[in-house]
Symmetry: C2
Amino acid sequence: MLASLRRRKIRITPQRLAILRVLAASKGHPAVEQIHQQVARTFPTMSLATVYKTVSLLKQLGEVLELGFADASSRYDGNRPYPHPHVICTRCRKILDPDLAALETLAREIAAETGFRIEAHRVDFFGLCPECSRREGEPALQMKDRRGGDGRPGP
Amino acid sequence: MLASLRRRKIRITPQRLAILRVLAASKGHPAVEQIHQQVARTFPTMSLATVYKTVSLLKQLGEVLELGFADASSRYDGNRPYPHPHVICTRCRKILDPDLAALETLAREIAAETGFRIEAHRVDFFGLCPECSRREGEPALQMKDRRGGDGRPGP
DNA sequence: CTTCATGCAAAACATTTGCAGCTGG
DNA sequence: CCAGCTGCAAATGTTTTGCATGAAG
């Protein structure tokens, strides 16, 4: 990933390195806020603006995949920077990356029907993960989502 | 649709009626801003806040489907208020509702693999519509999308 | 050295909320 | 009549931008 930056003659600063590390290391799909907090532990002066700028840069370079949701919160995937399906728990906000071969078929079906030249996709499934299915009665994680939505990324 | 409001003892005001009409009539997937402008033609005092409140209300009643995008813009579908796939032109922002039977299969595949109890989904395909495919050289519609994205709803 | 990045503060936007006055039923 | 709406203005929360300082190469 560093190679990609060097190749394009983009400066490698300690801040960027730290952000890169978080992105590469996290198995989950961290939000900007989480990245910032994480990095701030070893870099107290890190500003949110810098995280935004860096993540935005990486997105343009195709090194991370941005997962923006309707409530204007975004999560980032630094391990699979290409479109792929997600499975999201509406209770604990966990995000999984399932394997799904059937998608290609779907895309081809679409192209045939609409005449579109399909170039990317965004496929999310929402539901309860096995753990949350079990504890259904217990109080759920509070989401800052506005209104009574279910946390799904609005269309 | 009116019936649904009456049944729940929700007041039917001229403003709401106007918004409902736009939602029901528009074949496309209008944004709040567009709904407001449309309604404002016959209702100059209509405020944006009212449109937001009404649309939000309809969403909770399950009468419209919200399609929120990463750039915090939302579009609404008043004709199919249930999850269904979308095909979105990244150039002219046109949105189509294709028929797609294969989706159910996909959902079942996911559930089997992850153990999730799938309750909803969001499936979007991005690309160029036939018209835009042809005029590829011409200047594209300017999108207010922040940064150099391609207009796809961030995850 | 020169160019580019950082970080602060301010701006930009879409959306939400508080509230006084209006109005549908 | 009166609970529920409207519309204005102000508040919110996230992301972006301007700019002076500082550091990478």
